[in-house]
């Protein structure tokens, strides 16, 4: 494991990117930060800009307008290594928007994804469990 990756796992800062979601997944992410779940105790916090973040949380069924921007954000603005987490059915497979005229591609055809958290929306517990699994996976202990 590279030094940067090891340092990243200690206290991953997350950036939340909504690519055309219904808001519920985004609200559940914010919920994780508030007192009941409080993931800040694990050193995770919401970063204001992707340039400060180690982990990208992507929600929503990428539509035509956001597709280009998501790719741009990931390729041009994100410092690497960066872990990408897809949250919610929409980001996994487009969910029930799979037939929509404005959602042509699933997210993992656009940017590489490290872990998928299913649910519509996933509960905050599921999001936390997913992040822990990702960290363990990267550490090689899973």
């Amino acid at each position: 494991m590279s030094l940067t990756l090891r340092a990243l796992l200690k206290s991953p800062w997350v950036f939340h990117l909504s690519t055309g979601s219904c808001n519920n997944c985004d609200i559940e992410i914010l919920d994780c930060l508030t007192p009941r779940f409080d993931i800040e105790r694990f050193g995770m916090r919401l970063a204001g800009s992707i340039r400060h973040a180690d982990v990208l949380l992507v929600t929503g069924s990428c539509n035509r307008k956001s597709m280009v921007r998501v790719k741009q954000i990931y390729e041009e603005q994100t410092p690497k290594p960066c872990l990408v987490i897809a949250i919610g059915e929409c980001a996994l497979s487009r969910g029930l928007f799979i037939d929509s005229y404005n959602c042509p591609l699933p997210l993992d055809k656009i940017i590489p994804i490290d872990i998928y958290i299913p649910g519509c929306p996933p509960k905050p517990e599921a999001i936390i469990a997913g992040v822990v699994k990702l960290i363990n996976k990267v550490k090689g202990t899973l």
Partner: protein, 395 residues
Amino acid sequence: MAKSVITIGPYHPLQEEPELFRLTIEGEKVLNIDVMVGYNHRGIEKLSESRTFDQATFVIERICGICSTSHPFAYTRAVEDIIGLEVPERAKYIRTIVAEIERIHSHLLWMGLAGHFLGYNTVYMWVWKLREEILDVLEALTGNRNNYAMFKPGGVRRDINPDDISFVLKKIDGILPTIEMLKKAILDDPVLHARLKGIGTFTREEAIDYCALGPTSRASGVARDVRKDTAYGAYDRIDWDMIVTENGDVFDKAVIRILETYESVKIVKTCLQNLPGGEIDLNITSIPPGEGIGAHEAPRGETFHYVRSDGTNRPVRHKVRAPTFMNLPTLKATVPGCTISDATIILAAIDPCYCCTERMVAVRSPEGDLLYNGDDLVRLSQEKTASIMKRMGIK
């Protein structure tokens, strides 16, 4: 002084949803505002037309996560309007209960985010902690924290278990002291007074001209609320007050939302205590040809749905008008003239929800002919996807 332009978004830490604001500024002063949306458009109206009437309820629910009761409420009312039937009394009460609990959760969510926008993170954390209690109630009643799937044309999908009633009443009573404390903390705070009073004032005339809805219009003294204006659900069987204030500034919009939370608590409690017995669902088997409209007062204002049926099991046309669609243009009246630091909270004060608002536009020539028909749009859409994929190097 030279003019410059500030762009906020589309992916900005302040906003949950992607949208782009362009503020034209001169020094500190905002001269003009331009809003660009479309990052959330998923073609829900079209999707709903490809589902059966029952399935469409689930699609409609996912228009917006915060209003996942309001849209189905308006939609089922539109379908029931086609058939011309009244849902059973118990279903009406259950619908009202879920809708009002959702209003409490939505207003609390707004309060928290508004605190966050103002840099008052204590309020944000307190309110969101309180909101969890409401989500517990929703989970107990509907089985889900969000996207409740309670509604279906003709009634509700799930009954309220008598054992749950005491739990819900206890929880709701339990949050009242905290709301009271928050009300005092927010409304008596001299810093918030200085920060919010007289900011982004929206006059009564403007509210009428812009057709503003919900708390945005009620804060300016326009007493308009679908729950009072048309009798539906259990709203006409219960005693509750419409909250109206006069000043139209950001502070008044906050006051409206806080006081409405109390009214919603009152409505939920009365409904639970007087829950009538009987059927919860009419088991509709067919829907005749015709058209119907349905409206519901969502936390942000009136949601309006139009459904046309041709006698088959799918809607031929489904039109949705969400409240933010009407409230967003009001920024043109409130933002110009303010300073940049006030602009954020004025933008947030209408409690915007962009995922409800985004629309596809059909293009007409000045003579009124449609320049694009359905086939043209499909062709355009395929060409555009192909070109994006080519540009991005996706096979």
